[in-house]
């Protein structure tokens, strides 16, 4: 299907597809096995200018938006959903600065990120998952600094990233209005990282705790202002969810590509299994679902790029639908491969393992449904 991308977007798609197929795909299984962060690939992505696709030109980027970020994420994920996260997780960590940062903060950090500095977003804690309001990490003002204490959990790109955007409580008595967003650098005193988590999928993506112990952060590193933390986080997710959705579409497409090609080669009962209607219908359903998910992703991305104010509902729909499609399609891809699909020597089981996280992170799909429903009801009340 033609999504009517402009010249530059087509170029971005062509280049990210080339990198994905020529550089990422050949090493995806290796990094899945070793669980290492693919720095060699990050270097290639950085040198190709792709880290900057969604960063404004005045900060060294290419001046694109969510659409461009989604194009790159989809293409990379088609080869490896985990390596793609080095790029997409950086996007998540960058949005708070992009959306609410001061000009100085943008100059200082976006210019570095556009060149390939990896970033990370830190909100989740052991007891603050879907219930992001129960964050325990604190930030205490002391003169020109804030002192951060607490432990963030399951942070994508942790340890590898140089720039961290962190949500911490500056005033617990105010509840959600007492949270503040900070920019913390890896080298700052009092920042440490926990053990690397052992995961079902996206194993090449680094997932670790980020531990703050009396970490001194200059007050210039507050994003927006004190008390804005949750708004920063929620708006960040509104912008980043299409990225997760694009990752899901890419994973689904990658698994589908493998399944289609395998079904034409695998011979049973004297003919390729692609000649059986049972397989044909599976392939038709998979391809249709992927295309529907992709259409939702890019429609949402366009809407955000066009400057729409409230995009929570649409971006949740894109994330919810695309990630459910990814889980379904990758499971069916394994099914088409049969016993071979279950073997780690073949590429499809990895897609299935990688797909699962897209239903969980950046808000579980249950939370997405809450967001969608809340917005539907709000819109309905408004219309009365």
């Amino acid at each position: 299907m033609d999504y009517l991308f402009n010249e530059q977007q087509k170029m971005i798609q062509e280049l990210s597809r080339k990198i994905a197929q020529e550089k990422i795909k050949p090493v995806a299984a290796k990094y899945d096995e070793s669980e290492e962060f693919a720095w060699d690939i990050m270097k290639i992505i950085a040198e190709s200018d792709l880290f900057g696709v969604y960063i404004p030109e005045q900060y060294g980027g290419l001046g694109g938006g969510i659409t461009e970020m989604c194009i790159v994420t989809e293409e990379f994920s088609r080869a490896c959903g985990a390596i793609a996260l080095g790029f997409a997780g950086t996007g998540l960590g960058t949005f708070p600065i992009l959306l609410y940062g001061s000009d100085e903060q943008k100059k200082k950090y976006l210019t570095r990120i556009a060149k390939g500095t990896v970033a990370a977003f830190c909100i989740t804690e052991a007891e603050a998952g879907s219930d992001a309001g129960s964050i325990k990490t604190t930030a205490r003002r002391e003169g020109d600094y804030y002192i951060l204490n607490g432990t963030k959990q399951w942070i994508t790109n942790a340890g590898e990233a140089d720039v961290y955007t962190v949500i911490a409580m500056t005033d617990k008595t105010k509840g959600a209005r007492g949270a503040t967003a900070f920019i913390v650098e890896k080298g700052m005193k009092g920042v440490e990282f926990g053990q690397k988590e052992k995961k079902l999928g996206i194993r090449a993506s680094a997932t670790r705790e980020v531990i703050f112990t009396d970490c001194k952060v200059p007050k210039e590193n507050v994003i927006a202002r004190e008390g804005m933390g949750f708004i920063v986080a929620m708006k960040t997710f509104d912008s980043s969810r299409p990225g997760v959705a694009a990752q899901a579409v890419g994973i689904a497409q990658g698994a589908f590509d493998e399944a289609l090609s395998y079904s034409r080669k695998r011979v049973q009962f004297g003919q390729p299994i692609s000649s059986f209607q049972a397989i044909q219908h599976m392939l038709a359903d998979m391809a249709t679902q992927i295309e529907a998910a992709r259409a939702l992703v890019y429609a949402t991305a366009r809407m955000i790029d066009a400057g729409a104010k409230n995009v929570a509902k649409e971006s949740s729909m894109a994330k919810l639908f695309a990630s459910d499609v990814a889980m379904k399609v990758t499971t069916d891809a394994v099914q088409i491969f049969g016993g071979y699909g279950y073997m780690r020597d073949y590429p499809v089981e990895k897609y299935m393992r990688d797909a699962k996280i897209t239903q969980i992170y950046e808000g579980t799909n249950q939370i997405q449904r809450n967001v969608i429903a809340a917005n539907l009801i709000k819109e309905s009340i408004k219309a009365e």
Partner: protein
Amino acid sequence: MNIIVCIKQVPNTTDVKIDPVTNTLIRDGVESVINPFDVYAIEEGVRLKERFGGKVTVITMGPPQAESALREAISVGCDEAVLVSDRKFAGSDTWATSYTLSCAIKKLGEFDIILCGKQASDGDTAQVGPGISTHLDIPQVTYVKKIEKIENGKAVVERMTEEGYDILETPMPCLFTVVKEINTPRMPSLKGMMRAKSAQIVKWTAADIDCDPQSIGLDGSPTRVVRIFTPPPRKGGEIIKGDAAQVSQELVQLLKDIVI
């Protein structure tokens, strides 16, 4: 430093089909790409520019659609591109091709190094690079796997051989053909792709390059292709088992039988 890289656009397949009547390559329906070995020459040219400064000019002789190969070369760092294209060049063999390219290079003016891939993946002759150096009367080193040093108008390079490599020093200007061991070609950058899209490609015809009309195209090509065929694949070997004395006797007998 002025660096010139000669490239060729080839069909993107290892399974080249030959027209049985004309004995030429069938290009229809096959996507065209830069000859894989030339990609290493482009990369080396860009690296030399990064090491020593200067500019890289990429040049090709071919049909108008070869322009896309030149734009691709610009996207990975080449500065200027020249397309030498004319119906009069049709039917050129390696002699006429290298003559034509050498005329175009003369027209480009002064240069320090010419880089070519070791051979093209379609014709596989490995003759055009050496041919250019002959027409220009400059030294050539083929199968270069490393450019070690360039100073005082001389270059020191490693030339790959079957057993290892030679270290050679040559005065400049000179021509190198490179092997894939020389580098790992980079991916294009987005900024490079944008530059490539808008870059001005210089287009020269036979009239522009001051060449002898009798020495170009089919008329200038002494080669006559009588027939092209794929040699039959080698039959599998035979493994002789048993104790050493018996095996060696058997082997000697076998060698005697096929009359070495």
